[in-house]
Symmetry: C2
Subunit: 222 residues, 2 copies
DNA sequence: GATATTATTTAGGTAAACCTAAATAATATG
DNA sequence: CATATTATTTAGGTTTACCTAAATAATATC
């Protein structure tokens, strides 16, 4: 099956929106893909004809098994590439998303396999997102937003949104990389900044940035 | 300047044909690009409008300075990628062309620079083709075809055509890699095979394959 | 030098993926 | 519940890069 880059991007976006918002509607798809809603309607009808999505006008879109398979393959390419570019080639973590966005459509299955092998079959990318397996399994550790944590709670950084380069530079300078453990020592009111303690070092992070960071809580009995 | 993949491919093909045949005509361009001659006419007119080529109907096409610059940038991407894929990632030399063909349009200038740096600013790709410098200089060592050599002559393998995977597997099995020195010990008549001696080991190579191999003669007084 | 052949161009058409503007459906508000 | 607002779709248009078929130009052959 030969699918255009556009189609792959649509399927990827539908997968992501489903994960983030639950329901996938025309306007949001259009916004994320930076096209007009009318264009989304047209493409979504086409995807439905191809049995890659199910679509009821005014009701929303959902991936079929076949559509999800394609989406996960593209996401696997993307995240393997991000990790390779960062870890092996030394590109900064705030640059790899943009680069992978183009390369994900260009690499062959053989190159994908080789990258996977060179990286030792990794399971997460540099931003903490899970890398789908070749068979299409994804480790979706149900994590919560850092911005919703309360004072005194402890957690580990799980995942940072990878689309925004500026966010990543900011978060990276603070040392908030996936895997880092911390405690919330203060939460300023009026959507103010949060103060975290990482190994006795205090850092301050804005609430907006904190919304873009997912964490895994460390239970009290650990 | 944002140029489509098609445009980049046309410019690359025009550059290559000019090098190989001297004159670039519609039919040959069409053949190489696997499109119809009528399509070439249309695109070439467009390229002329963009000042990337000069074009006189029925007379042929030639790259302008601007067009050559683009062509060399794409070729630089291609050859750096081939070398990276082969040398660093361990892909066989008969697979890298196909992969680079897609990736050359997808990598950023920053990634190009990083690859160049990781490879130590190389000057030839795995098939012996020169890698244009960032400034657009190419080392075109004027070499001749192996198929045209006579018995007793000595030379070094300079370059093997990279488009044909089967040819590369064949030539690779014979050990005829760029840089290898040899002597022609026999040339069978009627376009028959040639017998070469590499370090006292005799190998036999068909005349058709020999046409695809460029060599640098080693002068007698060396 | 007329005619056949080959090369090239012109004219008109298609598919993909977008667009804008207008129409319609769904939802919210007084 | 009538009306305003927002979401979505429909209709028709654009651009890119192809295509086929027909016309024309260049070249080769008798």
């Amino acid at each position: 099956m030969i699918l255009s880059e556009s189609i792959e991007d649509y399927l990827k976006a539908i997968y992501a929106l489903k994960k983030e918002v639950g329901k996938v509607v025309t306007t949001q798809l259009a916004e994320r893909l930076e096209v007009k809603p009318a264009s989304v309607t047209g493409m979504v009808r086409k995807l439905a004809d191809m049995k890659l999505v199910t679509y009821k006008p005014y009701q929303g879109v959902a991936l079929t098994k076949a559509g999800q398979k394609v989406a996960l393959e593209v996401i696997r390419h993307h995240r393997l590439l991000e990790l390779y570019l960062n870890e092996i080639m030394g590109l900064p973590w705030d640059k790899v998303h943009q680069e992978a966005e183009k390369l994900e459509h260009a690499i062959s299955e053989e190159l994908e396999d080789r990258i996977d092998q060179l990286l030792g079959h990794p399971t997460t990318d540099p931003h903490g997102s899970p890398i789908p397996s070749k068979a299409g399994k994804v480790n979706n550790s149900s994590s919560k937003k850092l911005s919703e944590m309360k004072r005194g709670e402890k957690a580990k950084i799980a995942e940072v949104r990878d689309e925004d380069s500026e966010l990543l530079r900011y978060v990276g300078e603070l040392g908030l990389f996936p895997g880092k453990s911390f405690e919330v020592v203060n939460v300023a009111p009026y959507k103010g900044p949060m103060t975290l303690k990482i190994k006795s070092k205090k850092i301050i992070v804005g609430r907006e940035a904190a919304k873009q960071i997912l964490v895994n809580k460390i239970s009290a009995w650990n």
